[in-house]
């Protein structure tokens, strides 16, 4: 099939464009940089800033390149004296609107370092001053009511990138504009402070803001983007495994942005973008052993020998691991327990993975293309936030949303159809019973679900765990066009399940807890007569342990996770681990040697490959 093409000329160069492209896109394809402040490659064009005006033959006036569609024979000029004059004028008008005092703005820099698109254009077009004076008395509001980032209205140029990001990318519909003309202001909901609005702090608006109007609190004034190392990495916050761009400086994580080229297309949640750079408790850098009621720093050799001696004397050793680990670490733990300790008492601290073989797996891209999405027994807006945002985006694009649950979920408001899930588990006092809840959807509901999914062209089913046998069987019997995404709770719970690790009670008078960089967040420690905790940070758990071993954090590990798409995602380190803090598998290897058993690397990597 040959694709239709449109032949146009830009700056004297012949260009082959696709119908539907804009002049801006066609120019970018051959490396001609037409400036634009409201234009953003991942947002629908707005045509608000007038910086991209170009000359098009047979058009009376200059035309905005970001909204002008290509047409056969178009002759475009992008940088004539007339255009330059108009751009200088547009910039002068922008600077006259509000108080753009660059010297107090964190994104300001010189022509090499500036992170401000407005300032860079001012340099490009040689603005040495502001011929149209701004109002020197007017005080523009600063909205600092949100935890992670601040809005300085003084630096806002009303390009509406944030508004479009909120509506088109995050599908949260919080941001809009109020008033008109010179009084136009960006506002949230019914004009309430951002902190009191429906804003979910996903930070997409912050990522697309061309000026310093939206400023990240943590990384402001820590340097320009060119001072940071930018690493493409994977967020370890939940099982979605979003692609991130990590900004690091001097081996410190400074800022996180969504990776446009990954499946999440720049979108992240507050946890992935902001919480990961929040301060953490003190790092554990040396092994600690309890002596006379106090934890005392000791050498790796002594600590491991001590653990080995106690484990040999124990009746049974239990193992617990956070699912926030790469498969390689989990495999090493499982191997250590089964080979060195000949114990199967090893499980996850938390996490929940529904059965993953109900049908063809759905990728994040399938959610965007879906015309019918059923969410059964899970709340993606709580546990897999980016998936939830993508569901709302599909709803905005016209997809039918069916929510099937026994409780309220975040997606209720955007559901077209509600079906009631019934909890048919036997009531019990045991805390572990919580893990064995069974949810059932009656025949009438199943029929409604089936007819909706069958009628759709690209149906997707998102499902949580604990669904009844009948529901699972009915889902398996859906037409093959239906794609399935398990709503996995816990980053690598799916990878852990492939290894045979799941959340369950474990028995033993000694316990080895691999908690990595997780924090207990109020959960009581899994105490036994002898407790070893391998953790990155000090917490209530490490304070009450018998031995504490240092662990690497998510940002220091290399390996793989299995995400909600059922895809093995490679995790690469973006920071160097502190000296003396080895990888999890290395610690377990050393420990198993002291237990008199040599754990083989082949066994660990063989197990990881199964996943």
């Amino acid at each position: 099939m040959s694709e239709a093409v449109v032949k146009i000329t830009i700056d004297g160069r012949p260009v082959t464009a696709r119908p539907g492209q804009t002049v801006m896109q066609a120019a970018a394809a051959i490396g001609i940089n037409i400036p634009g402040l409201c234009n953003h490659p991942h947002l629908k064009p707005e045509g608000a800033c007038r910086l991209c005006l170009v000359e098009i033959e047979k058009q009376r006036n200059l035309q905005p390149a970001c909204t002008f569609p290509v047409a056969e024979g178009l002759v475009v000029r992008t940088e004539t004296p007339r255009i330059v004059e108009s751009r200088r004028f547009a910039l002068q008008m922008l600077f006259s609107e509000r108080s753009h005092y660059c010297m107090v703005c964190p994104v300001s820099g010189d022509s090499q370092s500036s992170d401000c698109e407005l300032q860079r254009l001012a340099y490009r077009y040689g603005l040495t001053h502001w011929p149209y004076a701004p109002d020197y008395e007017k005080a523009w509001e600063i909205d600092a009511s949100r935890k992670y980032f601040v809005m300085h209205h003084s630096r806002c140029i009303l390009c509406r990138r944030c508004v479009r990001a909120c509506n088109q990318i995050a599908a949260n519909h919080t941001l809009g504009v109020k008033q008109r003309g010179a009084r136009t202001m960006i506002c949230a909901d019914d004009d309430v402070p951002f902190g009191q609005s429906t804003c979910i702090s996903c930070g997409t608006c912050l990522q697309v803001c061309p000026t310093g109007a939206l400023v990240d609190r943590r990384s402001a004034f820590l340097g320009h983007e060119r001072d940071f190392t930018r690493t493409r990495a994977v967020c370890m916050g939940c099982a979605v495994g979003c692609g991130i761009q990590a900004f690091t400086r001097d081996n410190q994580l400074v800022r996180v942005e969504g990776d446009w080229a990954s499946a999440n297309e720049g979108l992240l949640c507050a946890a992935g973008r902001f919480e990961v750079v929040e301060p953490r408790p003190p790092r554990i850098l040396k092994p600690l052993v309890r002596q006379d009621w106090r934890l005392v720093e000791t050498s790796w050799d002594k600590a491991l020998s001590h653990i080995a001696a106690r484990f040999r004397g124990a009746q049974a050793v239990a193992g617990l691991a956070t699912p926030r680990l790469v498969t390689e670490s989990l495999a090493a733990l499982a191997c250590f327990f089964e080979e060195a300790l000949t114990s199967h008492e090893v499980a996850l601290l938390y996490g929940d993975a529904p059965p993953s073989e109900l049908g063809r797996p759905a990728a994040l891209a399938d959610l965007r293309a879906a015309d019918c999405i059923a969410v059964i027994g899970g709340d993606p807006l709580k546990d897999q936030k980016v998936v939830g945002y993508l569901v709302r985006r599909a709803r905005d694009a016209g997809a039918k949303v069916i929510v099937v649950d026994d409780a309220e979920t975040g997606l209720d408001k955007c559901a077209d159809v509600h079906l009631e899930l019934e909890d048919i588990s036997y009531p019990s006092e045991s805390p572990f019973e919580r893990l064995r809840h069974t949810y059932h959807l009656r025949a009438g509901g199943l029929a409604t679900l089936k007819s909706a999914l069958t009628a759709a062209q690209h149906p997707v089913v998102l499902y949580g765990s604990g669904l009844s046998t009948t529901v699972c069987a009915s889902l398996r019997a859906m037409p093959p066009k239906v794609r399935f995404m398990p709503l996995v709770v816990g980053t690598n719970t799916l990878g852990a399940r492939r290894l045979g690790l799941q959340t369950r009670p474990v028995m033993g008078d000694a316990v080895y807890v691999l908690m990595g960089d997780d924090l207990p967040n109020g959960t009581p420690p899994p105490h036994r007569q002898f407790t070893v905790i391998q953790a990155a940070y000090r917490s209530s758990w490490t304070e009450s342990a018998d031995v504490v071993l240092p662990a690497q954090t998510w940002a220091e590990r290399r390996g793989h996770i299995l995400n909600v798409e059922g895809r093995s995602v490679a995790v690469t380190p973006l920071l160097e681990a502190p000296p003396g803090v080895p990888a999890d598998w290395e610690t377990l290897l050393q420990l198993s040697m002291r237990m008199g058993y040599e754990l083989s690397m082949d066994a660990i990597s063989g197990m990881s490959q199964v996943v």
Binding site: S99, Y101, C102, M103, V104, S108, G109, D110, S111, Q112, S113, S114, Q119, A122, Y123, G126, T128, H129, W130, A133, Y136, E137, A139
Partner: protein
């Protein structure tokens, strides 16, 4: 010997950082002094531009009260080419932050509320200059050359002076154009 270009400079509401940046030209100052004669500056003995005038007048800082306004008006009368040096002179700069809260709030903060002050009093001598809204100097007088930067790089100051000495109009671009 060709007649030297005469220069006078002064500072208004600012931090003197632009003059520090001027001194940052290092040995190029010596080279410039071969073609330039400095008449009055805040860092030399003579403080006011001579009544017979100079070729180039350089102003750092923003107009913030009646005294600074008088200084910039006098400089405009006594120079042929007026250079606005630094972000305060060009845009208003950091002193404009006072506009948002107002003069009285700024005075209260400085003389009464500051942490080290006990029993402070806002100066009210009638001879003191009357405070006004902070503005860039082109809100008061015509400016011929804008040299932005906080402070402008020494290279940019050298370039502007060199161009003026050689009778050209400076066109700041590239690395020399830096508002930062």
């Amino acid at each position: 010997m060709a007649k030297k270009v005469t220069i006078a400079s002064d500072w208004l509401a600012g931090c003197a950082g632009c003059h520090m940046s001027l001194l940052d030209m290092d040995e190029r100052l010596v080279e410039l002094l071969g073609a330039v004669s400095l008449h009055a500056t805040p860092i030399t003995d003579l403080k006011h531009p001579p009544p017979e005038g100079v070729d180039v007048g350089i102003i750092e800082g923003a107009v913030a009260n009646s005294a600074t306004e008088r200084v910039v008006r006098q400089m405009r009368q006594r120079c042929r080419v007026l250079v606005a040096m630094g972000d305060c002179a060009v845009f208003g700069g950091v002193p404009t932050m006072r506009n948002a809260g107002g003069c009285q709030a700024a005075l209260r903060r400085a003389y009464i509320e500051s942490e080290s002050t006990v029993g402070g009093r806002i100066p009210d001598d009638p001879e003191l200059a009357a405070m006004a809204q902070v503005r860039p100097i082109d809100a008061v007088v015509d400016v011929d050359v804008y040299l932005p930067g906080c402070p402008p790089p020494a290279d940019a100051i050298y370039y502007v002076l060199k161009e003026l000495v050689e009778g050209r109009t400076p066109q700041l671009a590239g690395k020399l154009l830096d508002w930062h």
